[in-house]
């Protein structure tokens, strides 16, 4: 049984099949890439897995405690609770909140405290809040954001916003982390740093990472397996070496030299 099994996943928007019959699986602690030309359906695929869209057809099965749970039609927050977290292609931070608040919000569903404790400020509330803060700071440290705790998210430079999104996703304590173009808008230098970081967190937290990215220096460096989509269909799957040589991928995506 794989950690995540996707069978025949299809999504139609009106007459447009954004995704058709995609089969996909993830094993524990893998680093998997998802590539494909613009409009191939990569983001749509993430949206289906994380509950933002409901699939038209097909199944998404997640292994939880030895059983398979069907994720189709579940609400995003339920899916997040089950261990899937994501970042967004167009950054969606809580812009008017501080860096640390962004992270603490993500920690809420797993380790936050109840409404009544908060209103009456019980000792438990203070304990919990302290814990949330400490956990957030620990996470932010990994991403070198610990000296920007109280900066508003909107005032961060682009690259740091992308990193904060990853921290926030990690804070939900996922089993699988989905990153949608984390290197977009970064310069090569920053991309190189990000590459290391992704490998590091994958090791440190023992999680599975799925990555959509157009920057091949990143994808080919970090991914163990790569899927390639075109027009909503899976056209290739394999190791970076295999993918780089795959004629279909070259024709549709990489472009000949």
């Amino acid at each position: 049984m794989s950690l995540l099994e996707v069978t025949d996943l299809t999504k139609n928007f009106g007459g447009l099949a954004a995704l058709s019959n995609v089969n996909f699986r993830l094993e524990e602690s893998e680093l998997v890439g998802l590539i494909g030309p613009n409009g191939a359906g990569k983001t749509t695929f993430f949206n289906l897995l994380t509950g933002v869209y409901v699939p038209s057809e097909g199944d998404i099965l997640l292994e939880t405690e030895g059983k398979q749970t069907k994720l189709n039609g579940k609400k995003p927050y339920v899916i997040t609770d089950l261990g899937l977290a994501r970042t967004f292609q167009n950054i969606r931070l809580f812009k008017d909140l501080s860096v640390i608040e962004n992270v603490m919000i993500a920690l809420h569903s797993k380790s936050g405290i109840g409404t009544l404790h908060s209103i009456f400020r019980t000792p438990k509330y203070y304990e919990n809040d302290k814990k949330l803060r400490e956990e957030s700071i620990a996470l932010l440290k990994i991403f070198k954001l610990e000296n920007k705790l109280d900066t508003l998210a909107r005032n961060l430079p682009y690259g740091e916003q992308r990193r904060l999104e990853i921290v926030r996703a990690l804070a939900t304590q996922p089993k699988i982390l989905f990153l949608d173009e984390p290197a977009a808008g970064m310069n090569p230098q920053e991309t190189a740093e990000l590459t290391d970081l992704i490998i590091q967190i994958q090791k440190q937290f023992q999680i599975t990472v799925v990555l959509i990215e157009h920057d091949m220096s990143l994808v080919m460096n970090v991914c163990e397996r790569i899927y390639c989509l075109e027009y909503g269909r899976l056209i290739a799957e394999g190791t970076p070496e295999e993918i780089q040589k795959n004629p279909a991928v070259i024709k549709a995506y990489l472009g000949g030299e």
Partner: protein, 292 residues
């Protein structure tokens, strides 16, 4: 059955009034997302201008409507310049509060200068009643229904097919990008207000004639209903505003007709809420999920 048809006629003509006001409302609403609470009061001012033109100046109906439209358009532009433009970058609710301020101002200035009482509108259009069996329709109802439909079509053409319309729609989605296309955002917004306010002016005179009655607070209830109609039909959608207006008019009438006059407004709102729960972006609104 006959009384049902008669009630339908009643509902449609009441709905036409709401629709007529809602059209101008949704126009401004669609472009700058401002809940223009003062719209109902511009309509009131329009009615008073029409009153003055017919009663005191002695003009005929058509010139009175034209002058009322012109002056209301002017008023709309002035209000936009003074009260709304400085709030362009602010939140929508902040602009809403300003609109409420403008609404209070227009009402109370009118009370101050003209007195608070209701007055009879001069008869500028002879009422003719057409009977079909026991079903009656009068000439004013026909005028209003026809005007509403014509205006709706005209607006739709303007917004969908003219250059200005294109600019309006561009402004409504992204003002910065619109400027980068060479669109004069200020002019477009002024134009929107001109159109919306002129429509309100025309509606004011027509309703004055229809009910034979005007007063400084006459814009409050229809203004609110027009807002409800515009939202109900789908925000910023011109045929939606008309449809919303008609539906509210018909539902109100039917509730009264079938014994619910005691709970009329409650039932109307209840039905609205139920419909919105099923169609969360209004009757004609497309339920597009935000692309993430």
């Amino acid at each position: 059955m006959e009384s049902f048809i008669q009630q339908m006629v009643n509902g449609i003509s009441l709905g036409s009034i709401y629709a007529l006001i809602a059209l101008g409302y949704t126009m401004v609403y669609g472009i700058i997302k401002l809940i223009n609470f003062a719209h109902g009061d511009i309509y009131m001012v329009g009615a008073f201008i029409g009153y003055g033109m017919i009663q005191n100046v002695g003009l005929g109906l058509i010139p009175a409507i034209v002058i009322s439209m012109l002056l209301c358009a002017l008023l709309g532009v002035v209000i936009e310049k003074i009260a709304y433009r400085p709030l362009r970058g602010a939140t929508r609710i902040a602009a809403l509060i300003t609109a409420i301020g403008v609404s209070y101002l227009l009402q109370n200035l009118m009370i101050y200068f003209m007195g608070p009482e209701r007055r009879a509108f001069p008869t500028a259009l002879e009422t003719r009643i057409f009977s079909f069996g026991s079903i009656q329709v009068n000439s004013q109802q026909i005028v209003i229904i026809v005007t509403t439909i014509v205006l709706m079509l005209a607006l739709q053409v303007i917004v969908k097919f003219t250059t200005m319309g294109k600019a309006m729609r561009a402004v409504s989605t992204d003002q910065d990008a619109a400027q980068l296309m060479g669109i004069n955002v200020d002019n477009v917004i002024s134009f929107t207000f001109i159109m919306g306010s002129a429509l309100a002016g025309a509606a004011g005179v027509l309703v004055g004639i229809y009910y034979n009655s005007i007063d400084p607070l006459m814009g409050v209830t229809p203004g609110l209903k027009a807002f409800v109609a515009a939202v109900f039909g789908g925000i910023g959608i011109i045929p939606g505003a008309m449809l919303g207006g008609y539906l509210i008019g018909i539902i109100e009438t039917m509730v009264s007709a079938y014994g619910g006059s005691m709970f009329k407004d409650a039932v109307v709102y209840l039905i609205l809420i139920l419909i919105l729960i099923v169609k969360p972006s209004g009757i004609l609104g497309k339920n597009v999920k935000e692309k993430v």
